[in-house]
Symmetry: C2
Subunit: 396 residues, 2 copies
């Protein structure tokens, strides 16, 4: 259905983006940067206006004639929805709104191929089927962006850089349409990954949806805790709870749309925590088996963390931390990184330990193990107190 010419294009030449929130506007910005012509639509006129003023695209004419999918490949960079369908329409709306927008867009013949960016995939597919949408031209997708903030003001053309972009090809999809969505993902700087909708939903429940609720359940304990208790907080609790800071509204929608897989993971976590609480109670009565059960949970946790891939696709434990005591003042980090750069050492990651109320901190620079000694020597010669460790963990 997509013209052969489109296959050769590394970037869709034209796109309609329905929904100018964070993700939609970011997709639009990325496609514009890559040279595509982009039209925007949103029920919220303020959001649409802001996205347009950011340079994300032109407003989609509300009276655009339905050109139908037969308009074909004549729709090029200079063409638009008024001259024929765009190469692709991206439905950047909440999961429950995808199917309705898909049907509306298809009935207007806005594009030759349709995709979405919702963080669940089975629900929109089922609803699209129920609504009688054309499933052949709909290739579901989900860019896993590193951050989530609502609204076009938070959009960035590079939001998807280096992140996975899941595509869920359906049996009815033409290979060329799947390829077009792969090109869309690549044009946005993402890495396309083809996955079934069922697997996708299971996997994001595990790596995103359930962890969010787990963080919230831990953080909820802090709501009424004494301030003096919170003053003892180290990096450990900060990390465990950080994702729970974001707004509840969007997350209720996401969780509701992926209720089955998310609740399955949460039940397992709850069961392990109940068992751990029981084991602790038995431990005080001298139950050796309880100690083994608790140790087993902690060991499984440690093994699980070890399986999370690191920056370069390898384990995080492939890097070594070099610790440096730094003054909390302008220019201190510049001097530090200057010395590291001059020594030819590539810093893989950096974190600064919070030092409540004090004007000093500890910077932890993660480098390849073989570079640790070089960096430590260079920083030591520069006058910084420095320490190299084998890869360990922050526990506070």
């Amino acid at each position: 259905m997509t013209a052969p010419g489109a296959l050769a294009l590394p970037v869709p030449a034209s796109a309609v983006v329905i929904g100018t929130g964070l993700i939609g506007t970011s997709v639009a910005l990325a496609l514009r940067s890559a040279g595509a012509r982009v039209w925007l639509a949103d029920q919220d006129r303020d959001a649409l206006g802001l996205a347009i003023s950011l340079g994300a695209g032109d407003p989609l004419p509300e009276t655009a004639p339905s050109a139908g999918r037969s308009a074909g490949p004549s729709a090029g960079p200079s063409a638009g929805p008024s001259a024929g369908p765009a190469d692709v329409a991206v439905l950047a709306v909440p999961p429950v709104a995808v199917a309705g927008e898909l049907r509306a867009a298809q009935s207007r013949g806005l594009a030759r191929c349709y995709t979405d960016v919702a963080s669940v995939k089975e629900l929109p597919l089922a609803q699209a089927r129920d609504l009688g949408c054309d499933l052949a031209s709909y290739v579901p997708g989900h860019p896993l962006s590193g951050r989530e903030r609502s609204g076009p003001a938070a959009a960035r053309a590079d939001l998807f850089t280096g992140r996975p972009w899941v595509i869920c090809p359906q049996s009815a999809n033409a290979p060329a349409d799947v390829e077009l969505i792969r090109c869309l993902a690549t044009a946005c700087g993402a890495q396309p990954v083809c996955v079934s909708a069922a697997d996708h939903d299971q996997w994001v429940a595990l790596v995103s949806h359930a962890p969010h609720v787990v963080a919230a359940a831990m953080a909820a304990r802090l709501e009424r805790a004494p301030a003096s208790a919170l003053a003892l907080t180290g990096q450990g609790l900060r990390d465990v709870t950080r994702v729970a800071a974001s707004g509840a509204g969007m997350w209720v929608q996401i969780l509701a749309a992926n209720a089955g897989p998310a609740s399955a993971v949460l039940r397992e976590v709850a069961a392990d925590l109940s068992a751990a609480a029981e084991a602790l109670t038995s431990l005080t009565a001298g139950d050796e088996q309880a100690a083994k059960e608790l140790a087993n949970l902690l060991e499984r946790g440690s093994a699980g963390v070890g399986r999370i891939p690191g920056k370069h696709g390898g384990p995080t434990t492939g890097f070594s931390p070099v610790q440096v005591v730094i003054q909390d003042q302008p220019g201190e980090l510049a001097r530090l990184f200057q010395v590291a750069g001059a020594a030819g050492v590539n810093i893989e990651d950096v974190s600064i330990e919070h030092s409540p109320g004090l004007p000093v901190g500890v910077a932890e620079l993660w480098v390849r193990p073989e570079a640790g000694a070089t960096l430590a020597a260079a920083l030591g010669a520069g006058g910084w107190p420095v320490s190299v460790r084998v890869a360990g963990s922050i526990t506070s």
Copy 2:
């Protein structure tokens, strides 16, 4: 009981450290840096030898005569256990070993005042009482170090810099002894905080022990997850599970020693997660009340995170992030921080987003809100793609 002269000392003039693991050796290094005379002891001769070679102190003579507490203030910087008791003995051994080591040290008259560094406080106190230790000269303590790695090789003189050091004064303690332990904490760079042993144990269960198990229970789900699922991992799951990477052995000991408070928190988290799983199941059946319950948990979580104090004692949300796209190459961060320093902007915190498999990343620089625009302008002029946001959260 402590001589008046000792009160004026900002640093204990002499100390015995029993146990040369990470914490004991770090205390010893910090006290040496501050000018104190330090003697070291450990049942593990290798660990003791390593601590000595690191310059943490001199070996405590095993045949040191029992000088008794009456030896008094003549024990100065040039004196030692063989000439009379030290100002303080620090028992840097696991929680269950504190009471036994305390009794042994007191029977040898090693010091005029005793403290420990165990991460629970009620258990060692109860055991010291049971063993008939002198509770008047024992002032329990707990430095909340930001990292935990075992062994003297991981020790750092600055391990406690800016971190809270809990002291649990007992009714039998002389004020001068409590003051001496405050001086010890201050000499190590920490901020002494006086708390009851019961409160301490409740609080660390909340901010450290329970979060560790919660992270492990989430991370345990990853042990047998498909590698393709883990490839979708963003910063959110990394943060939630990070602390679970550390070894199980030490944590079983810590949790067992604080079983009551830790299990109480874990039961609450487990109950909330079970309820969330139930709510999700009800949600799919259209239960509006279930949506409210789930939203309530997420809102409580968000409120809880907001109560964690930030770097300068204020909320983390007091800072704004400036996002910059950076190349993954030597010198890139040096140039970035050079520009920030030249603009007179103080970077409060920095993190780099992992970009699996790609040679670019996004650095997030946290600055005071009023400095965000200045920094963004300076970096933009330097050629970096940059974005300022109001304080948000990483959710991936």
